[in-house]
């Protein structure tokens, strides 16, 4: 077979992989086909990897005429075993609650790899004719986007894991530093582009120094981008960084002239972009607002003094009272929130629901679009606890049912139930779609304290005379409720 024929087969395999990614993503539309879709996508990835590896072994490949060296083979094999092994280990042992930070970590390494590919290609072609104007632009874009994703995702992951404080971190001079890194990146792009176009003369050494500066600027920019953003906004940020990583992979594809990188990267770039917008919409916040950061620092509390915010008294409810209300209700809606995820209470909530169902109570779960850490995260957590799928109801579908509900059991959810979002135009969350929990005949809130949610505002729901507060950790509170219901 001629070299060209071999390359044709390789190219077709890449194309098949790209098609598998698109079809795989499409199949993830519905729970019934989602797993198959992911497997198809994985098969496409495997095909692309194996075919590329074999092609690089052939003497006729145009990347390394004569076939790649033994060192290259070793690098690929050992790199795959180490990286793949680490990925496998983390993916197997991660708790479902820690999923978002793992996704963020995979974003980081993906973006880092894309930046490295761009840097390495630049090392090869700097000073040669292969370094054209467009290649140099794609190199800088790949390095900048990949570098920002790498450091930004590490910070985001650290924030969720608690290694980096979750509160917005704003240090003096942060904006100046951010501005400075942007100037370095843009200046570097212009200088390298001009040099590649032959308009200015830069030695290879100077070009490499410029690229190093751009890399450093991108890494610093990633950190200063994510640090001022509060932990509760991390899902949106992770989704945005996911989109960036895809774009960085596409840029790396342009640099090395590889179609499958371009297609897959662009696909993920677009996917992450849409997902980010959906998440920001669900919180009624613009992306710009989130990226400026500082939400939840306490300044937002100024908006809390609206009508009805003062004057009410919080009513506490005893365990037995709560148990009786639940056990003799006809219809109960559970409203799970981030507190439930943190307390790992998804199994306890399911046990309580099972117990109530045995007594003939109709139980369903109201899932706010941003409940948990990421859209759909709460569904995953409840799925892990074997909660039957039809019981999970989305916001628009379940909101009309609250008025026919005897007890709404709010577990670790706060801002998504705050009626101020409907009634108080001064409130920072005004206009955010919420669960109409206050329409239920009675409301039980399991919460550790009166501490406000991430929006930093008081929740009028807790002052509602229909509301009984059960101050406890979500899991402890539910476990005690289960015991109390059993005794009835």
């Amino acid at each position: 077979m001629s070299d060209q024929a071999i390359y044709t087969f390789v190219f077709l395999a890449w194309l098949a992989a790209a098609a598998a990614f698109v079809i795989g993503l499409h199949q993830m539309n519905s729970p019934a086909t989602a797993r198959r879709g992911n497997q198809l996508s994985a098969a496409g990835m495997g095909l692309a990897a194996v075919v590329t590896f074999l092609w690089l072994l052939t003497p006729g490949n145009f990347i390394r005429p004569g076939g790649m060296s033994a060192i290259a083979i070793a690098i690929i094999a050992i790199g795959f075993v180490i990286g793949g092994g680490a990925g496998l280990w983390m993916a197997r042992r991660v708790a479902m609650t820690a999923m978002p930070q793992l996704v963020s970590l995979f974003n980081a390494v993906g973006g880092g790899a894309a930046a490295l590919v761009a840097i390495d290609d630049f090392l090869h072609i700097a000073g040669t004719e292969a370094l054209t104007l467009d290649t140099s632009i794609f190199v800088v874009l790949g390095v900048v986007i990949g570098g920002v994703t790498f450091s930004g995702s590490l910070v985001a992951s650290g924030k969720l894991q608690g290694i980096v404080p979750g509160q917005p971190i704003i240090f003096p001079g942060a904006r100046v530093l951010t501005g400075l890194t942007a100037i370095v990146a843009v200046g570097g792009l212009i200088a390298l582009a001009l040099a590649a176009a032959g308009l200015i003369v830069l030695t290879i050494e100077i070009q490499l120094i410029i690229l190093a500066l751009v890399t450093a600027a991108a890494l610093i920019f990633g950190i200063t981008l994510v640090l001022p953003i509060g932990g509760a906004d991390m899902p949106v940020v992770i989704s945005l960084l996911n989109s960036f990583t895809g774009t960085a992979a596409a840029m790396a594809g342009f640099v090395i002239g590889n179609p499958v990188l371009i297609i897959a990267g662009a696909l993920v770039g677009a996917a992450g972009g849409i997902l980010t917008k959906l998440m920001a919409d669900a919180m009624n916040r613009s992306l710009a607002n989130i990226m400026v950061g500082g939400f939840g620092t306490g300044d937002a509390a100024a908006g809390a003094g609206g009508p009805g915010a003062e004057g009410g008294a919080v009513r506490q409810i005893g365990l037995d009272d709560a148990a009786i209300q639940l056990a003799y209700a006809q219809k109960v809606i559970v409203v799970p929130g981030y507190g439930l995820a943190v307390a790992q209470a998804q199994h306890a909530v399911r046990e309580l629901a099972d117990l109530l169902e045995e007594r003939g109570v109709d139980v369903s779960y109201a899932i706010h679009p941003v409940a948990g850490r990421m859209p759909g995260h709460m569904n995953v957590l409840l799925a892990e606890a074997n909660v039957p799928y039809p019981q999970l109801r989305e916001m628009d579908e379940i909101n009309p049912e609250f008025s026919r509900t005897d007890v709404a059991l709010v577990v670790g959810a706060n801002d998504v139930t705050n009626p101020a979002a409907r009634s108080n135009p001064q409130s920072p969350i005004y206009g955010m779609p919420i669960l109409d929990v206050d329409n239920a005949r009675s409301i039980i809130v399991i919460k550790r304290s009166m501490r406000p949610g991430y929006a930093g505002i008081d929740n009028e729901l807790y002052l509602n005379p229909k509301t009984g507060m059960l101050f406890a950790d979500a899991r402890d509170g539910l476990t005690e409720l289960i015991a109390a219901v059993k005794q009835i």
């Binding site: 539309n29 590896f53 680490a86 995979f106 894309a114 490295l116 897959a264 999970l392």
Partner: protein
């Protein structure tokens, strides 16, 4: 710009449009697995790492290619495995549904 680059740009733009179209149809329930699934796909950069490993001829290049390979493979393998773990739970849950409930689910998904 060279014809190759123009072709690549055309592919890039069309792939972005495909991405928008495919994603905008996904229900919120599946957003987390979807994000994770999309996350694994950008692990395709592993193929890029292989290519720079093959092209490498200096110790620095070998080192960069090695790190890129480790990063890319972690992204690919970890991403697909964790997505599969999540989706497995969705399936198991469906298996427990009574036929009657399955019908309601199917009809609500059809919308």
């Amino acid at each position: 710009m060279s014809p190759e680059l123009l072709n690549a740009l055309a592919i890039f733009v069309l792939a972005i449009l495909v991405g928008f179209e495919v994603i905008s149809k996904v229900p919120a329930t599946l957003h987390t697995p979807l994000m994770s699934g999309a996350n694994s796909i950008h692990g395709i950069v592993m193929v890029g790492a292989m290519i720079i490993a093959a092209a490498a001829d200096t110790p620095v290049s070998y080192a960069l290619a090695f790190i890129a390979m480790v990063f890319g493979s972690a992204n690919v393998v970890g991403g697909y495995v964790v997505t599969d773990r999540m989706l497995q739970m969705f399936r198991r849950r469906e298996a427990k549904v009574t036929p009657e409930q399955a019908e309601t689910v199917a009809s609500s998904e059809g919308n």
